[in-house]
């Protein structure tokens, strides 16, 4: 690992996930790191990136940092506020979302996500919040990016305790007669590195964060993580990116904890 870093783990994740977002795409994102990533991308490399909130708000122009996906500030001055049936039925299931951003408590080898329980479903050791819209995002967004604050063997597990949001690989195997639109998880980012799904659906190490070695990432993963032939090194956050985050996007450090 690197010596002294001049940015926090949250700042690193916000900056490096912002760089993953291509311009002129429609992104479905929750609150927290994705909020920062989208705002930073819009302020830098992807000015025409469109953000869609689960609450039905599209084309939000908030004058403050929203604290929930249904914050009053995203409604004031928004381009549209759609009903929930329109949002989930027509916008998401109808195929208008290119990229979904999801988090999870666990992710496994083929990109299945768990946000439901740790332990058995009927006698959980930890009851998590549940799907929310994640099951819809995984099925219907063109592809899904996952950003996780923790990269350790308890989070990156060989098999998740519960599949809340199924990978394309698992969906095709278990439910072959269901036509799933989305590619599922294609990209996973942590403060150690970037993983992408290979042709057989298994996650592969594609890049490491600055100052991290492939061995560090493999050691922090709960299965034998396959590494691609050439592993890139993600450039560290620049002064300009950090300045935007700290002074204009999240000056009160609501999500930069």
């Amino acid at each position: 690992m690197s010596s002294v870093r001049e940015y926090t783990s949250s700042e690193l994740l916000a900056v490096t996930s912002a760089r993953l977002l291509p311009d002129r795409r429609r992104v479905f994102a929750g609150i927290g790191l994705p909020t920062l990533a989208v705002a930073l991308a819009q302020a830098t490399t992807a000015p025409d990136l469109e953000l869609i909130y689960e609450s039905g708000v599209c084309g939000a122009h908030p004058t403050r940092l929203p604290e929930t996906v249904a914050d009053a500030s995203i409604v004031t001055g928004a381009e549209s506020v759609l009903s929930m049936a329109t949002l989930f039925g027509y916008v998401l299931q109808g195929g208008h979302v290119n990229i979904g951003f999801l988090g999870a408590a666990q992710i496994d080898r083929v990109g299945n996500l768990n946000s439901t329980v740790i332990g058995p479903y009927d006698t959980p050791s930890v009851r998590l919040p549940g799907s929310g819209g994640a099951a819809e995002v995984i099925a219907n967004a063109g592809e899904v990016f996952v950003v996780l604050r923790r990269h350790d063997p308890a989070t990156f597990v060989d098999r998740v305790d519960f599949i809340t949001s199924s990978s394309r690989h698992t969906a095709n195997g278990r439910s072959p007669s269901h036509h799933v639109r989305g590619a599922g998880v294609t990209t996973v980012l942590t403060d150690l590195g970037l993983m992408r799904t290979g042709d057989d659906g298994e996650l592969e190490l594609a890049a490491v964060q600055h100052g991290v070695t492939p061995a560090d990432v493999i050691a922090a993963t709960g299965w034998t993580l396959r590494a691609r032939k050439s592993i890139e090194v993600i450039p560290p956050p620049t002064e300009a990116e950090l300045n935007l985050l700290r002074t204009s996007i999240d000056p009160k450090r609501v999500y930069l904890r």
Binding site: I31, Q93, G133
Partner: protein, 305 residues
């Protein structure tokens, strides 16, 4: 237009909500009918099957007060962390539950509202939710264009009572809401009885000057109650903002069962109604939560006379 349906919150709950009922309280972060939940606690309703997409602090309070027997939900978190009373009840088995994704539960409301035997959605392929909820079932398309394609379907839900909150209504119960409306229309049409809390009961002419704003027509409303600030600590667009301080402080209260009971004793059981709850918050409490106005431009609904 029907007769006036205006009543008091205490009377609406006493008349329409009975022990053992299935009660849906909706509002997606915005317009959460907290005052009605508090009144359910004061009237010591028991054995309710509570339904709500996002349980939020409201269900933490209701469960801690012993109101619930079963919950149906799709996302049980809050913006600031765990709902501890909710989690304790689910982990210990004290309250039983069934869960969906957001669209899955919305689809149950849609089926209920539209009188359908089921509603299809394209979620759940590969998900363990299917194996743990017998109400999510696969079904094959009967049409040649999609021959052999399966979708998952969910059954209708018909709550005994729907309770929602809105900005305004006329005395007949034509309900106008704006901003994020969540599943309020679907849940109302799906339910046998409906209670609506509003910030303000207004003259008929004001409602009729903007009929597209009416989300719920009077004929599916049984009681309409004026309860200013009745959605606190959630928010009402254009009226008062979300009390994020309350939300941030809640996990520390709810984590400790004794502290949570003391909170309920002081703030809910220790107040006779919502007016007293507001008085306890203090006269200037909402000053920092008062929005900067952002009025809509008026639209023209005119026609040739």
């Amino acid at each position: 237009m029907a007769q006036a349906k205006t009543t008091l919150l205490r009377d609406a709950i006493a008349e329409h909500v009975h022990d053992g009922d299935t009660v849906a309280l909706e509002g997606f972060t915005h317009l959460i009918p907290f005052a009605a939940g508090h009144e359910l606690i004061r009237q010591r309703r028991r054995d309710l099957h509570l339904v709500r997409m996002t349980p939020d602090i409201l269900f933490d309070q209701l469960i801690a007060a012993g109101v619930a027997r079963h919950v149906t939900f799709s996302f049980a978190g809050s913006s600031v962390g765990s709902l501890h009373a909710f989690r304790r009840a689910l982990e210990s088995g004290a309250v039983s539950y069934d869960e969906y994704s957001h669209y899955g539960l919305l689809a149950r409301y849609q089926a209920g509202a539209a009188g359908l035997p089921f509603f299809p959605i394209k979620s759940y392929a590969g998900s363990d939710l299917v194996d743990n909820n017998p109400s999510i079932r696969a079904m094959r398309s009967p049409f040649p264009e999609s021959m052999g394609e399966d979708v998952y379907v969910v059954p209708p839900i018909h709550p005994d009572v729907a309770i929602v909150h809105a900005q305004r209504a006329d005395r007949h119960g034509n309900i106008q809401a704006w901003g994020i409306t969540g599943p309020m229309q679907e849940v109302t049409f799906a339910s046998k009885r409906t209670i609506v809390l509003v910030e303000e009961i207004v003259e008929d002419e004001l409602i009729r000057a903007d009929p597209n704003r009416t989300v719920i027509p009077s004929f599916v409303v049984d009681a309409v109650v004026q309860v200013p600030y009745g959605a606190h600590p959630s928010f009402v667009q254009g009226r008062y903002d979300r009390d994020n301080g309350f939300y941030r402080n809640w996990p520390a209260i709810s984590k400790d069962p004794a502290r949570l009971q003391a909170w309920l004793d002081e703030w809910i059981l220790g107040t006779t109604d919502h007016t007293e709850y507001l008085a306890k918050l203090g006269a200037d409490y909402f000053a920092p939560l008062t929005p900067v106005p952002a009025l809509s431009g008026a639209v023209d609904y005119g026609c040739v006379a």
